[in-house]
Amino acid sequence: MGTFIPNTKEEQLKMLKEIGYKDFDDLFKVIPDAAKVKGELKLPEGLSEIEVDRKVQGLANKNVVFRSIFRGAGAYNHYVPSAVDAIANKEEFLTAYTPYQAEISQGILQSIFEYQTMIAEITGMDIANASLYDGASAAAEACWMCKDRKHSTIYVSGAIDERILEVIKTYSFGRENKVEIIPAKDGVTDKDALKKALEADDEAACFLMQYPNFFGVVEDAEELCKITQGAGAKFIMYCQPLALGLLKNPGEIGADIAVGEGQPLGLGLEFGGPYLGFLSTKEENMRMIPGRLIGETVDTRGERGFVLTIQAREQHIRREKASSNVCSNEAWCALRAGIYLSTIGPKGFEDAAKLCSSKAHYMAEELDKIGMKLCFKGEFWNEFATTCPDADKLLKALEDKGILGGLKFSCCGCDDAKEDCILWCCTELNTKEDIDEVIAVAKEVF
């Protein structure tokens, strides 16, 4: 019953007649009968807006929205400033498409140019692209950028999120390159293993590490970078962008490519998507970059303007020789990230990172006091792994109070294999009171 078609039946018939068709059957007679659907599709009756609203709200209400969240592991509960929604939801942004026609798309183009600049700034790299689907797929694309005729093996740290690894492996099944894992030891990449592996392999293309890594540990990126580049391979850092408010950025470390999940930059949790893959690199890699790039130029009067550029890399020009098949990416999510970073500014960028760090350290200390010990010795920022006598029991008790506790995971780094492990995450949204509440629940449980 619901429809967004403006033409009435009468108008349609009139238009059909005007162009020489009796009816819709006549119009569709170019399709062979054998190809057409017989009878009606088994779909429900269409609904009015009120009915749709009621039904979908009903489904939303069946889900649990936690009031207090201590789970990260790839999706982070950061604050989204009011301006982000208000601005991004402007329909000119929402209902436009890829800015192919630059003269009437300057707003979209400039917003992405600004986003590219901000991503390059926070990662300390020269240039960034217009966005990719999400962090994991951006990581897979970054690995591919490093491949050349002589170098095709992708090395990945065993301390990265297995969800990222899964996507890298899937892309590699397509592109037919080897993926090798460098094992983690004590919650960090085993440096000796990395050195040995790269030195023994003439075909090493790159090494990808996560920063902070899946266990929350901030690895010695400078040393890993030195080992990797020393062996002639490229160094890729998969970063939590807000951590770069505090931690040395990939540019300072000397990385070749920085990628990551842009979700913390003004996107919600959204049950996993749409998120935002960001990718930045050194200028020398410009023509290897996958996806859209926006560049500055001038119009016929000499006025500054922006266009899609260096398109000779892309699928619509290069077809089978393109650097990637990316067409639609996540432009609107990139717009949100741009608004977010403009809202918080350089001071907020640092403050947010400090808040996350301080709260996580406070929580870790409080958990330690009740016997839930850090699994790893390394420095951390806003995520950390602890032991737990019975993770299921604790997480259930927290859930009953509307709290999403950390993520239970199997950790191989603990001395006491009988203990469970939990990966905790704090953000600026977790107050001291919230943290103390978790500790109180844990005390009750154990």
Binding site: M1, G2, F4, I5, M15, I19, F28, A35, V37, L41, K42, L43, V52, A60, N63, V64, F66, A75, A83, E91, E92, F93, L94, T95, A102, G107, I112, E114, T117, I122, D126, I127, G135, R163, K169, T170, G245, L246, G251, G268, E270, G272, E296, T297, V298, D299, G305, Q315, A322, N325, C327, S328, W332, G345, G348, F349, S358, H361, E379, E428
Partner: protein, 473 residues
């Protein structure tokens, strides 16, 4: 206009974050950043005005007619947005326990049923984030299938010369050699050329039907039969599904796997270039290879037995899927009305322009048609690009230009079903006026646009002297 960085004044800003309520504790000093990070320092008011100015320099479907061929720029219903923004969806952590996301799983399961019914397929993966990503996924399913059967030597994907650029690019990403199949004089697949290229190396065929010149291939059943006989699988590029939704089901005409662009056929907004969603539907025999984690029993997330892995970190672009689901609830079993009015609108425009503009293949089109401006260009030196730019001065977003590659000076027009006859008539009038100008004052067309915020931009300069970011002093 100024960049946001040029409006930045040191010390200005917005107060978002509270004072810290626990003792400050940071990672050790030698791990901390020393590099300066230039981000805008700007008040909320100034920032709001900046983006409002940018919005005014953008053109969305809500601003006016947007007949961008192959992109299906239909109306984006408001209810879709409202539903996707419900906290019960937008605030879900992707790693919440399965029993706390039953509504989300129910929604995805029901959407899967809808899409299976529409395509005739047996299962859907929502892991791909966009159309091209769905193509890549579908090709990996085909690859996994052949490998599983011990036929890894099948390494060629046949792609018609009229195909979207993403098709051959996706084939390369999947490790395939893409083999181009010629179009015949009617603009559809040349059967002899297809037969000549089929063989023991054929992994599959990628086809969009109706194709990119807007024609439904009358030999479609024959084409898919030939590919199957050669041992290949048939991939349907669902970018043009809006033309036949409810009228033709890809599975019924011999396709084994398909991606859909939820941001095209299923009305979710294009967002200035994403996020889209490109779910991939497949027949049962491909199910064991499907990517991603699904939670069909409502208890735990599982991966298919021989899964190719995953295309995105979690479950694809979930909120976009919520919008498409909302849309399908609204339309229901009347989905064929979408195709009907889309095809009617395209034919109406084609018919009203074909006396002056050369139509690439002058026959009943589907949801879009292609003008081949070449004969006019040869006479007047007014190009497809010039016509496109002239449309800007009428407040119309130009059609897709220089695509498909098999038509010279192509203008590919897709009005979609959500446009009124009046809008079409206005656009037809604009096209006709431009036609007159091509002959009476060609330079005025070649110098268009004149009313846009910037005039024609120097693409060559942009590519030769790349400036991809603002340079701070």
């Amino acid at each position: 206009m100024k960049l946001i960085f040029e409006k930045s004044i040191p010390g200005r800003g917005q107060d978002i974050f509270p004072a810290c309520d626990v003792p400050e504790k940071l990672p050790k000093k030698d791990m901390l950043r020393k590099a300066k990070v230039n981000l805008p320092e700007i008040s909320e008011n100034e920032m709001g005005r900046h983006y409002t100015a940018l919005a005014k320099r953008a053109h969305g479907v809500n601003d006016g007619f947007y007949p961008l061929g192959s992109c299906t720029m239909k109306h984006n219903p408001r209810i879709n947005e409202k539903m996707a923004n419900l906290p019960g969806f937008a605030k879900l952590h992707p790693l919440q326990p399965a029993h706390t996301v039953q509504g989300a799983n129910e929604l995805i399961t029901e959407l899967e049923e809808f899409l299976c019914e529409i395509t005739g397929m047996d299962g859907v993966t929502f892991s791909p984030a966009a159309g091209a990503h769905g193509e890549f996924t579908g090709l990996l399913l085909i690859k996994a299938y052949h490998h599983d059967r011990g036929e890894a030597e099948r390494n060629e994907i046949l792609v018609p010369d009229a195909a979207h650029g993403t098709n051959p690019a996706s084939a390369t990403m999947a490790g395939y050699k893409s083999v181009t199949i010629k179009s015949n004089e009617n603009g559809t697949v040349d059967l002899d050329d297809l037969k000549a290229h089929l063989g023991p190396k054929t992994a599959g065929l990628m086809l969009t039907n109706p194709n990119t010149v807007g024609l439904f291939d009358p030999n479609i059943m024959e084409i898919t039969r030939l590919v199957h006989e050669a041992g290949g699988l048939c991939y349907y590029d669902g970018a043009n599904l809006n033309a036949v939704i409810g009228i033709v089901r890809p599975a019924d005409i011999g396709f084994d796997v398909i991606h859909m662009n939820l941001h095209k056929t299923f009305s979710t907004p294009h967002g200035g270039g994403g996020p889209g969603s490109g779910p991939c539907a497949y027949k049962d025999f491909l199910a064991p290879f499907a990517p991603g984690l699904t939670c069909k029993d409502g208890k735990e997330y599982k991966r298919a037995e021989k899964s190719i892995g995953n295309m995105t970190g979690f479950y694809g672009n979930f909120l976009v899927n919520v919008k498409a689901y909302t849309y399908l609830l609204t339309i229901g079993k009347d989905v064929a009305t979408l195709a009907q009015n889309a095809v009617l609108n395209a034919n109406y425009m084609q018919e009203k322009l074909k006396d002056i503009y050369p139509i690439a293949f002058d026959t009943t089109c589907m949801h879009e048609f292609v003008i081949g401006l070449d004969p006019i260009y040869r006479k007047t030196h007014v190009s497809a690009l010039d016509v496109a730019k002239a449309l800007l001065d009428y407040g119309i977003h130009p059609p897709t230009i220089y695509f498909p590659l098999i038509v010279h000076e192509a203008l590919m027009i897709e009005p979609t079903e959500t446009e009124t006859k009046e809008t079409l008539d206005e656009a037809i009038q604009a096209f006709r006026e431009i036609y007159d100008k091509i002959f009476s004052a060609p330079e005025s067309v070649q110098q268009a646009p004149q009313t846009t915020p910037v005039l024609r931009l120097d693409d060559t300069k942009a590519a030769r002297e790349p400036h991809l970011r603002y340079k701070f002093d």
